[in-house]
């Protein structure tokens, strides 16, 4: 590597590139700024998925149903924290050529990085678990598929990830973007029919001292702040920014940083919109009708159509949940691969690929 920055300050040199089959596969051609911005657009959306996963839905629903629009300011604050940390994650990847898992492996002693690897794997499994359950709940609500079957169906997503990665990383990103657009479209519909009070929504984005005074509000607020940033996203982002073949020079890296930050900030604004939309719909529909106890996705599903009086309101909600669950399973699987490969410096793909995709 021609850059002196890349390998100073580490215990080991970097061995394998992160996510080797996709590493530097997406060209960045010189040209107009918006062409470059498009070339760098993508990793942010993979990351944004984790910020609108089924786990966030429950907290957003509970917050909106109990306290109306007050906690919108907390969603905004947690989004700003996410923008900061994801920016750092992208920067680590672009500057050091390592994802966070590889960086841990190359920085800490063997016992420490072994410990970090084990807890990381447990967390990735916990994360997958939440996503898979979210999808399975959606399949049950929409089609009456029993939960165990829904879980089995969702687990097939791992095959989609491997297949699409093989066909090109851009395809995987495109699929994720379509699913995000689906979720956003569904919630645009829900907001339009739940007719929230615009003034109340806007004032909800202004931090209110009542959040600090009311212990119950504070509890939910801290729940939102604590659960928004998900660890797997920090590993994922530092890896997938390296799918772009920016020039490995100072100027090239500086430019890559700028566009990667733009990408993740725009993408995370979508996540902000969707989380805010869930809370707004819950506030406008459940809180205003006195159903302040709605905390679970299933309750929200049952109440939406009768309360709004619009056929399909519940189905659209469940459809968005399905898109969210599938999407987060996809990116969770990818993060699992990055963590496993990065901490252990192995490649788990080849033997799996040989079974899935016959040689061309």
């Amino acid at each position: 590597m021609a850059n002196s920055v890349l390998d100073t300050g580490w215990r080991h040199p970097r061995l394998t590139p992160s996510l080797a089959e996709a590493y530097r596969t997406i060209p960045v051609k010189p040209g107009a700024w918006w062409k470059k911005a498009l070339a760098f657009a993508g990793p942010g959306y993979l990351v944004a998925v984790g910020y609108m996963d089924p786990g966030n839905w429950a907290t957003d629903l509970a917050g909106g149903a109990r306290f109306g629009y007050t906690l919108l300011s907390i969603i905004l604050l947690s989004n700003l924290m996410a923008i900061l940390l994801q920016g750092l994650s992208a920067k680590l990847g672009i500057v050091t050529g390592r994802d966070l898992a590889q960086a841990c492996r190359d920085h800490y002693s063997r016992p420490v990085s072994f410990f970090l690897w084990i807890i990381c794997e447990i967390a990735i499994a916990a994360c997958d678990l939440a996503e898979v359950i979210g999808s399975a709940i959606a399949l049950q609500l929409l089609f009456g598929i029993p939960l165990p079957w829904g879980i089995a169906i969702t687990s097939l997503d791992v095959l989609i990830v491997l297949y699409l990665q093989h066909r090109g990383f851009r395809l995987l990103e495109a699929l994720v973007l379509v699913l995000i657009a689906t979720i956003a479209g569904c919630f645009l519909f829900e907001i339009l029919i739940s007719k929230p009070d615009t003034g109340a929504v806007l004032s909800g984005f202004v931090p209110s001292a009542s959040i600090l005074r009311d212990p119950d509000k504070l509890y939910i607020a801290i729940g939102i702040l604590g659960a928004t940033v998900m660890p797997h996203n920090l590993y994922l982002h530092s890896s997938v920014v390296q799918t772009r073949s920016y020039e490995e020079t100072r100027a090239g890296r500086r430019e890559a940083l700028k566009y990667a930050f733009l990408d993740s900030t725009v993408a995370l604004s979508f996540a902000l919109f969707i989380n805010a939309a869930i809370l707004i719909v819950a506030a406008a529909t459940f809180h205003s009708a006195g159903h302040t106890g709605v905390a679970e996705i299933q309750d929200a599903y049952r109440l939406l159509t009768p309360l709004l009086g619009v056929t399909g309101a519940s189905a659209v909600f469940a459809f968005a949940l399905l898109a969210s669950g599938q999407n987060s399973t996809l990116t969770g699987t990818l993060a699992g691969q990055i963590v496993m490969e990065g901490f252990l410096n192995i490649r788990i793909r080849p033997w799996l690929r040989s079974r899935l995709c016959p040689p061309r």
Partner: protein
């Protein structure tokens, strides 16, 4: 990797139904809270290390802000864990 997650999810759904899966979701939140700081602190540390980052090292304001956020997230999650465990105990 996905298999590790699916086996407990499937078993819980089969034996404990929807309520069991809700409990499992809380458990997964607890695990994520526990691990989060082990990802956030190394990230802030590495990006604030001049040897590793060269000219791209976090400037002082960003380093301070990032550590403040890391500490805030760690304390929120510690507080949540205490609430969850005392809730289970009572």
């Amino acid at each position: 990797m996905a298999a590790i997650a699916i086996v407990p999810a499937a078993l819980t759904a089969i034996f404990f139904g929807a309520h069991g899966t809700a409990q499992l979701l809380i458990l997964s939140q607890v695990i994520l809270s526990l691990q989060l700081s082990f990802a956030v602190f190394p990230l802030v540390r590495f990006t604030s290390d001049r040897m590793k980052m060269g000219e791209f090292v976090n400037p002082l304001w960003l380093k301070s802000l990032a550590y403040a956020v890391a500490v805030a997230i760690a304390s929120f999650n510690a507080w949540l864990l205490v609430r969850i465990f005392t809730g289970w105990a009572s």
